[in-house]
Symmetry: C2
Subunit: 271 residues, 2 copies
């Protein structure tokens, strides 16, 4: 295969297989090229990936040496994305009875969801995450987007056990906003003991749900390495029960009468 | 930018933006290259994409001309994927009480889910799909995977309305297996009248749930262009209520006593 062709094929390979360790001889055989040629290809790809803010190729030296694509997202691009998201969310048409915001169109847009996944994943690059945990149902697409870039499985916490998941561990927790006692379940098979995990969700108010997930993960002795939500709401009535988290945007004020929504960047940029 | 660098950047662009129409002048400006050079780049990329079974670049002639990446999946690769999936599912460790199969590990694997999305999307390439519809919760990741390749939004039908989604249309339907009357809801805002849609789900037994989705979509005058499920089960007791669908695998027999599961390729390969 010629260099030009190899560059296309290799770029596709890396983008489709983030964080997968591949040896140079594997590519040599696959594309029928000398190891030195492949090395030069990888230099070109690494340079363009860095220049374009796509990520980088991490080389592993030694006998078991090889290369791994680590996706990235530049701080500049995140900032622009967050600014645009704030503008989109401030549209008064999004207001629903009770002061809720309609966000399903955003969460239903796969390209946007993927972008959010890339942004969150870029913060967890060094955290050695082994699984992404979320709670059904709105956080699911975001969790998959993050997990794709981290190349790890998704684990879904549910409100009630499903017959198709086998034996489960369940806990009761107090919902932050409604102060009701609720249940959360995680199938035993879904997570190994002591795994490093991050928690992803679409929305956080007082944080009762996320706190519940943390307790449930405690039953699996999991290490919660990070918590990230798309949007957080300023909750004047309830004290926040989760402290260390990332948010892309913060809904600071909703005025139903004036039909005005204030959305500001969350704490993501400062972390 | 040099050709080698452009090939990497362009490949990334197409893979990240499937089915998006881009004009040649856009790339000319972005990479500071003559239109003729970009044209040659596109020829190389198109050839490698075809050879590797990644897809193809569709050129649109004329003043509003440009190019569009159409992802594909070869029949040969689908066949291999389905064979491997059958083997994986026949593992007796997957047996749960009641004859259910544990599949959450597969549905929790983002790379596998993406592959399934690519396979289904390749069948709907010419169907002019405008939205992918699924029902909460297990079908959600598959629906996003398909939607990513088709570059269209995902619409999620729920069992109960959520306060964060505004006014909804609901229907009652009879579940095929339990013969219970159940409810399904779709927010009014989530789908425009008369849209072309496909329905994606993880599992189908008699097909009552999918039939329910079809009825609900009727309230939106949607055109159901296709139905695809990961796995179908042979249901001896109930007649199938959905006729025209695609399935990757078919669970033909589950023997709880002998701990034996028979899984065969679904109808996908013959359609």
């Amino acid at each position: 295969m010629r260099r030009s062709d190899r560059l296309v094929a290799l770029t596709n390979y890396f983008l489709e297989n983030p964080r997968e360790h591949v040896s140079l001889p594997y590519f040599s055989t696959l594309y029928n090229a000398a190891k030195s040629s492949i090395s030069e290809d990888l230099d070109i790809i690494d340079r363009v990936f860095s220049d374009e803010g796509i990520g980088r190729l991490e080389t592993v030296a030694g006998a078991a040496g090889g290369v791994k694509f680590i996706p990235d997202y530049t701080a500049e691009k995140s900032k622009q994305f967050i600014t645009d998201l704030c503008d989109t969310l401030e549209d008064s048409e999004r207001l629903l009875p009770g002061g809720y915001l309609y966000m399903s169109d955003l969460l239903g847009n796969p390209a946007l969801v993927k972008e959010i996944g890339r942004i969150f994943a870029s913060k967890f690059t060094e955290s050695n995450i082994e699984a992404v945990v979320t709670v059904a149902t709105k956080g699911i697409p975001l969790a998959y987007a993050v997990a794709t870039f981290l190349n790890v499985p998704v684990v879904i916490v549910r409100r009630d056990p499903m017959v198709t998941e086998g034996s489960s561990v369940s806990i009761n927790y107090v919902s932050g906003s409604s102060r009701k006692i609720q249940t959360m379940v995680l199938p035993k098979r879904s997570l190994r003991e002591g795994a490093n995990v991050c928690i992803i969700d679409d929305f956080m108010k007082a944080g009762g749900t996320i706190n519940g997930i943390v307790s449930l993960l405690g039953e699996f002795n999991a290490n919660v390495k990070g918590i990230a939500v798309l949007a957080e709401a300023d909750d004047e009535e309830d004290e926040r029960v989760v402290e260390d988290y990332l948010s892309l945007v913060k809904i600071t004020h909703v005025d139903l009468k004036q039909k005005k929504i204030d959305v500001r960047p969350g704490n993501f940029q400062n972390k």
